[in-house]
Symmetry: C3
Subunit: 370 residues, 3 copies
């Protein structure tokens, strides 16, 4: 699949895998990111490495290879690669060939997530990874560390679109995380903060009923009162979503209060292109209350999975229609402001990258016969 035009940003950090996914895959996980097959492995020293998942010799997958110290051995003809991707052993051949090797990608673990840099390694700065503190703060935030991966048969931007306009929760999630169709009519984003690499927005739903997913996990006497619901949403390139949710009794001016006393959630959702038509979706949903109660965790997990299933159904249908109907021209409504900003800056970055770093083959062809 060779493309004339760039379709993915290269010079940014992508969420690639939860650390537990690599651990459970025997410490070596083959996963496609931006249409490149990558092997992620954890060396005996604990260091993570990401290499092109095809041996330079005959394209056998390294993900079924064997970790040996910090290196990985291809289990077809036995070539060994070090973490830089350099081939350091060819069984039965004494002279090593300098040109043997595979591409190595910068990879960093942060907040239980492995982040990969698909572009120029010289530009990769781990400090640029959006740190999401609740993920590494089990004392204050309780979430569900496993089973928080979904696979979408849709372009990742359609998932970003979905999260950019919360009016959809009124219709898609009425009976799960939405709570009422009223949400789409009476709540509007109060502020849209346009950033160079994304946006932030704040949306209040005042004097509303408690939405079903929340009602299920709070004491009975809290379920019937009216609440003010605040969502602070932040989305960053290439497809990182962070949300703070707060429920306060209706009418309270939270600015004058210690908000630590209210029930709050922290939610991250990371959308990473597997291909142009499929997406890796990583997420967690954390809370600041009832921390030791596994029933609460279970209920929230079930509610969120149900809600994501509602999104997935509609988004995968969108994808099918858009693939068949490439000339579809979406019409804009007022609620698309954030979405339009995100797509604009993403596209700008893509064009800039295309100019600065035109794609070129990283390996020279030499003995081509295949």
């Amino acid at each position: 699949m060779t493309d004339e035009k760039k379709i993915f940003l290269d010079n940014c950090w992508y969420a690639a895998a939860w650390d537990y996914e690599v651990a459970e895959a025997d410490n070596k996980l083959g996963r496609t990111i931006c249409e490149k097959s990558i092997v992620f492995f954890k060396a005996e020293s604990g260091v993570y490495t990401a290499l092109d998942n095809r041996c330079c010799h005959r394209a056998a997958p390294l993900s079924v290879g064997r970790i040996e110290g910090n290196n990985i051995r291809c289990m077809y003809h036995g070539l060994v690669y070090n973490p830089d991707g350099k081939c350091i052993e060819v069984p039965g051949q004494e002279t090593q060939v300098e040109s043997l090797g595979v591409r190595s990608y910068p990879v960093v673990e942060k907040g239980h997530m492995l982040w990969i840099w698909m572009g120029d390694p010289a530009l990769a700065n781990p400090d640029d990874i959006h740190d999401y503190l609740p993920l590494s703060d089990p004392d204050n935030w309780c979430g569900f560390p496993r089973q928080s991966y979904l696979h979408y048969k849709a372009n990742w931007l359609l998932v970003v679109d979905n999260l950019s306009d919360f009016s959809h929760i009124a219709f898609v999630h009425t009976n799960t995380v939405g709570g009422s169709e009223e949400y789409a009519y009476v709540s509007v984003p109060e502020e849209l903060e346009r950033l160079d690499d994304g946006f932030r927005l704040e949306r209040w739903h005042y004097n509303s009923n408690v939405p079903p997913y929340h009602a299920k996990v709070i004491p009975e006497n809290e379920r019937t009162g009216k609440v003010d619901r605040r969502n602070l949403v932040e989305i960053r390139v290439p497809g990182l979503f962070f949300m703070e949710t707060l429920f306060a009794p209706a009418g309270v001016d939270i600015k004058t209060q210690d908000i630590g006393q209210y029930r709050q959630y922290r939610n991250c959702q990371f959308m990473t292109p597997e291909t142009r038509n499929t997406t890796h979706f990583f997420w967690n949903y954390l809370r600041n209350y009832d921390m030791d109660n596994p029933e609460t965790t279970k209920s929230l997990q079930a509610s969120l999975l149900e809600a994501f299933g509602e999104d997935k159904a509609i988004i995968e249908e969108q994808q099918k229609l858009l693939v068949k109907n490439t000339s579809f021209d979406p019409r804009f409504i007022k609620a698309d402001k954030a979405l339009a900003h995100f797509r604009r800056i993403w596209k700008k970055k893509l064009e800039e990258e295309e100019q600065k770093y035109p794609t070129k083959p990283t390996e020279e062809s030499r003995h081509r016969i295949l």
Copy 2:
């Protein structure tokens, strides 16, 4: 899937769905016709509407929307469309935008079938729909109103070909609706009436054995005698098949008799392109005798389904071979006269339509960013 050349006629009525199919799908049915995804819905008033099955906003499918009076609401962000396809509500947005809307298609119910017009609405005349009286005449014709839909993995013209030459029943349907291989040798179409939009032909099989499907449902004493079997076939553009079948005792001159006394069948088969490679196939098989006997209905249904299964197996294999082998050049035999006429007039109509109504985008692109 963008095509330079037209592959479907637009200005004609296509069989789209049995009325019971829409009813059973909660009154809103998403179905692809001629490679366009359409939503069919029945308003509370009983009126049918057909719209493009993708919201103009973000291409979400309207077929999972909600019928509200005569309108339908997209359940992604809540846009509401009237039967003309005009968007009459955007939740959270007071000013309506004139340009918001989807394409609406003429759709009419006749003989329990919904008929859709894919071309210029100004040319759509419901009187042009081929009325098939037996379908709406339960007093004189008994059929099976349900379960009469099949999906073909083949171009609809291959099914039309199949029905255009009944010599195939000798070899494909020997043990079901054919009865003998002799049929291909001794019976030939007596007359081929070439029409502007199809053909009619009459084919007699004199002094033949009773074919198995018929033998199963008639009294034992009739099964062994010889019969004269008459098939009157009519096929119309874009792919509508009607047949009258009559069995008379061998040797009777039916022209001098009241044919109402003989066992007769009426059969319609409607072939509608879903895509260039797949076909919606609607059918019914009605009789003029033994009307109250559900066992007869059941037996005929099983026989016909078995026979259609025999056709489907061979036609879907044809399709596979033709897709792989696009340079295949079919050779003509004498029996292809009707088939050749049909393909000729269909192609002529396609070319005329291409000249008169060159395909053009029905919606102007304005804010394209997707």
Copy 3:
């Protein structure tokens, strides 16, 4: 699927089917060879015929036809073809049309295998078929005549590559037919005999442990001693593999001995392109000892199937990566000498054939309307 450039050799014999496969398929087998759908059938006289598997009339598959004497009848409209592919009957049509017919391919049975010639029939010489005597010599070689077909989702050359370098058995088959990783380090091909249409090589593994598949079927007292293992490999265009394997007690100079006293195996593997991305794989594994013991047969069959499953897993992954990554440029290592020779001579033959016999339509288009 029309290709500008040739991708298969035409003027050579391809392994097409085991004779028992045709027998079990009611004597007529539809199978795709080099992207052409072929029907193989065995006439009542015992003669095999191979024809294009599509009736010249409407492309119905002849493989669901009916054998009549030496001929085959299409069961759509009843056309009959003789072994030359000439149509000799059209039901209901007295005048035969000279131009009706399908392509006939030279086909020969040898060693229980049907061999087909895809190119110019005038060049097809059955004497050129590589005779593999053990297959027709049950007195001296015992194998398993059935269940020796596998289907690969990979280009056949990747399977040829696999067999061209036995160092892979060290890593892929350590616990089945390999026996140790040492094999890749200490055993190297002693001689590579380059042929015009393939190669021969000899590889010894001296003083080695008995590999697991062999240990399972020999007396307990032989399992622990060291052995010298000799593999004589021969590979021929288009993808025919033959191997002689011998196990002698370590240190014996077999040149001075009667080798009939040692345990030996004969193995053939025939790789035939179904399409550019899929392969028919035929094989047998024969031995010169313990001939009447069905347990030995069963154990060897299970071991070999397990080993082939190990190959298949890695080769089908290679295929997936190469299809996605068409610019992959394989790097050569010392062990690729035989593989490189084979690909070179195969490519040379392909280019020669392209020059001498440019592809041209074998049938003239005349009444084209489809």
